[in-house]
Symmetry: D2
Subunit: 304 residues, 4 copies
């Protein structure tokens, strides 16, 4: 139980590696940690593992895989068996397949996305260190989020993927969107930490990526993020607003390949006894965009 | 020069007086100060004159008039002559025509709107008083702005109305929107105080009202305003964002009659030597909505 | 592991039950949930269990006990055995000893404080509910924190109490203060959730209470808290500032009996692999009060 | 009337010109605009005149003079006569005495401070420009205030200096501190703009400098300022708090020569009809530091 620590990394497919690296470095404000012929590895200043975002050169945008960090090799093996028992075939990614990473277990989840579990990755420390640290480092650039926060994916069968993450991997469902008759689940928000969500699914085509969320401190940082995006002529899809779901504050925008990013702040705390919040489909607009109270067309359609 | 102290009041036409009073009291959070058969008088908690918003029962929404407070009777007479000299006919509104008000001078400005000047209105004090005051009063309701901040009106001839306000009434033009060839003025932002604007005009039909802006403290208060509007199922036209023009932070919405309101925060300071900022028409989207970088259709069209 | 969900409640000794209840209701802004002859039970608006603060009539201030919520009866029994194995005698508090509570296990920790574990308490729901909820309820009063956040206690042997909470109860040490020579631990910050701390100890007399921290949303809410305290003539010991430890934003003050309270915002996220941050004694001032960079005398001395 | 536009500059005496310039550039975040053998000239990013702070090499800290910008040469002459009529001898500072400045009129005010009036200074523009500007420039350093905001000076005869600034120079008194019996004025807050104060005097020795205030945007920027000061080991005298007087948010600290600086945010708006707020001496603590509700000893004593 709770063998998984957090969302550890997302590998995004990008069409122009250099342009994308420049965007994630200077607009998002991540640090470039390493690169090889086809990949660039980046981390946020407050993360201590070697990287959380991998950009991979590709012909089309999207998510290659996302990965969760697990406590240790023992927990990794236990989870491997449980994933297999659920009916998902797993395979091993060997040490050194990507820079600074140890062995990982990979499998396809019921929505068709590739997911990895791992416990071994190089420790590099944060921007402030662990001895008498300042609260933030000098020379931050761009949006400068603290960390990768969560991902939202789409899929056809929200019930099954929810069952997979809760029963197999120990996530809790913090919120769900259901049809008004209660018969079908249209959205599922899942937490492995005490946050409001670490991962979410909404009904849509299988194996599609909706967005990666980066954590910023507060509503003023969301404003700063939007200002920086506009200064850099980055297309902002959803200007600063509040989510009904998670209560978080948000701005949505796109990387140069069309992968959606979010700067996300706040959101409530959850515990193992947190009762799942239910949104009914007729209130889905308010749930997603609390101020607009209706969906934005592109928000459902633009997937990578 | 600088005989005018500030925007003093706006009289809005509303179709359901009771419903509108309830909205301005509980959602905007103004205090109802007085009422008679056809009007309700309200003020914000940080204003010390008797009222700044008058709601008047009418068959259609819009602005009956707006009024500027002048230093004293002498300055009022001087301005009356200057208004006449510009070619606008003036007439006197006698003491007691509306509750708590003294005599006023009324005239039609070049865009067809009715404007008044006055120096006499009952002093009632603020919510915190003038002796050892707390920074804010208890029991605030709703958005609870500090004050009426500015108005935006539309008209056909922006050049002439700008000339009227600068040459006759002593306003300074802080920003303007011009066609790319520089030949025509499409927007004009005018200040009589050290704020970024107390009044503005954009090109459109004569004698139409675009919005009344209420001053809130900061970006968090803009979020609170938007939350309160959504809780009250008030239609939010433009969710929280930043203006390029004025740099202010904003949310736009409508009163029950369709008159547009704004909760506005921040904005830079201006002085008599502040050089007018120029926006070219191709950047008008960024000027109005800095994050969206394009206009919202309703924003140009919904006028009362 | 991680059988404990969170800090569940603190029972504070107060000298004037009515005066104290009034303070916790109107200044802190908790809801009074129940009372009997000698106790008043309160909760914060965003908590869903019946109460988190119990005020108990007594001759002197201080903490009667604090309690952690455990997942279920099985985990409670497992922890009971582990506590006993560590050498702490435990006893059972029977169902109904206090209002709305089931059975609890009580024991004395190495610093002499009484601590309880429980899994059974009446569920009452939050102020916003679990179906299509608004982000915050109407009619909040006072500081209106989301929840009880953490406690700080003093004791003579910080090493042993740290070992107790980490080895027996599954807490992680997120930060520690040590002497410059590294030989002695002067402070220990412990988390059972992903927050920066749920409980902390600093060197001082055994069985003393330093403060209870309430969670508020952000730095503006800390300002609002300080304003409200000053309006109510409540003594503010430490005006708004940032902690080096936890990076949190804070204001400290006292309840009518002299028990210290804190309104606390922000703070970083931690995980099972978070490396403990070390503060050396020569930097303790910066660690506690990042802006002042030295301790406040009363802060070490005023204990209840 | 209102011939004066604003506080234009302060010339501070500093003991180590290089060290001081480094502090005002990197910690305060001003731009160095020019320097000669004995002076360094700096401006804030949002100011458009050539400089607002002059550092002058000296043996002891303090204020050489402060200066107000006047509309034009005609107004300058009128004010010169009025100053003389009040009984203050004036003399002319000739064009080119300091870099980028035209002629100025200098005189000693009743508290013994040297004050200048001028209308001629080189225009250099702001960090964002005046055509389709972004709301803030890239590459801000340090606290990065928008502008010099106000000064606080001490003197023996607060009544007379108040009369000088109101009757001769057109300032309005926005707040005053008086003895409980009302017989003596202990503090006087004066505005020439619509802010809560542009200049203030408190009772103390003649010809002493208390502080120069720099304007930052909001309460979060005050936190950022305090964080930056602490990172740079700058002594913070008063950690972030609110003033009762002006309602502003503040942090106080010292430059390397011991001249006090303030980062100041918010504060209400005033107009010509704003009634002076009165603080009685028994509430002076609350007036100055709204959360502490008592004075800080150094705050009255450390003057330069």
């Amino acid at each position: 139980m709770n063998s998984i620590l957090r969302i550890g990394r997302i590998e995004l497919r990008v069409m122009d590696l250099e342009l994308s690296a420049e965007y994630y470095r200077n607009v998002i404000g991540l640090e470039e940690m390493a690169r090889d012929n086809e990949r660039v590895y980046l981390k946020a200043w407050d993360e201590y593992d070697h990287h959380s975002i991998i950009l991979k050169k590709a012909d089309a945008p999207g998510m290659d895989h996302m990965a969760f960090k697990v406590k240790g090799p023992y927990e990794l093996e236990v989870l491997e068996r449980k994933v297999e028992q659920f009916g998902c075939k797993t395979w091993r990614i060997s040490h050194g397949s990507r820079i600074a990473e140890g062995e990982a277990i990979r499998f396809e989840i019921p929505t068709g996305h590739e997911v990895e579990l791992y416990s071994d990755i190089e420790f590099v420390g944060t921007g402030t260190g662990f001895t008498n640290p300042d609260p933030w480092p000098d020379n931050l650039r761009g949006i400068a989020p603290h960390r990768l926060d969560h991902a939202l994916l789409t899929g056809n069968d929200i019930e099954t993927v929810t069952r997979f993450f809760t029963e197999v991997l120990g996530f809790r469902q913090t919120e769900k969107i259901i049809t008004v008759d209660g018969e079908q689940m249209l959205g599922s928000f899942l937490a492995i930490t005490n946050t409001a969500h670490d991962l979410a699914f909404v009904k849509g085509p299988d194996n599609k990526f909706h967005h990666a969320g980066f954590h910023v401190d507060n509503w003023y940082e969301v404003l700063k993020a939007a200002d920086i995006l506009s200064k850099n002529k980055i297309n902002i899809e959803v200007t600063p607003t509040r989510h009904g779901i998670t209560r978080g504050q948000t701005v949505y925008f796109f990387d140069p390949s069309g992968n959606r990013n979010e700067a996300f702040a706040s959101g409530y705390i959850t515990y193992a006894d947190f009762p799942t919040i239910t949104w009914t489909e007729d209130q889905i607009g308010t749930g997603i965009f609390y101020h607009r109270r209706e969906l934005v067309e592109s928000f459902s359609k633009a997937l990578t």
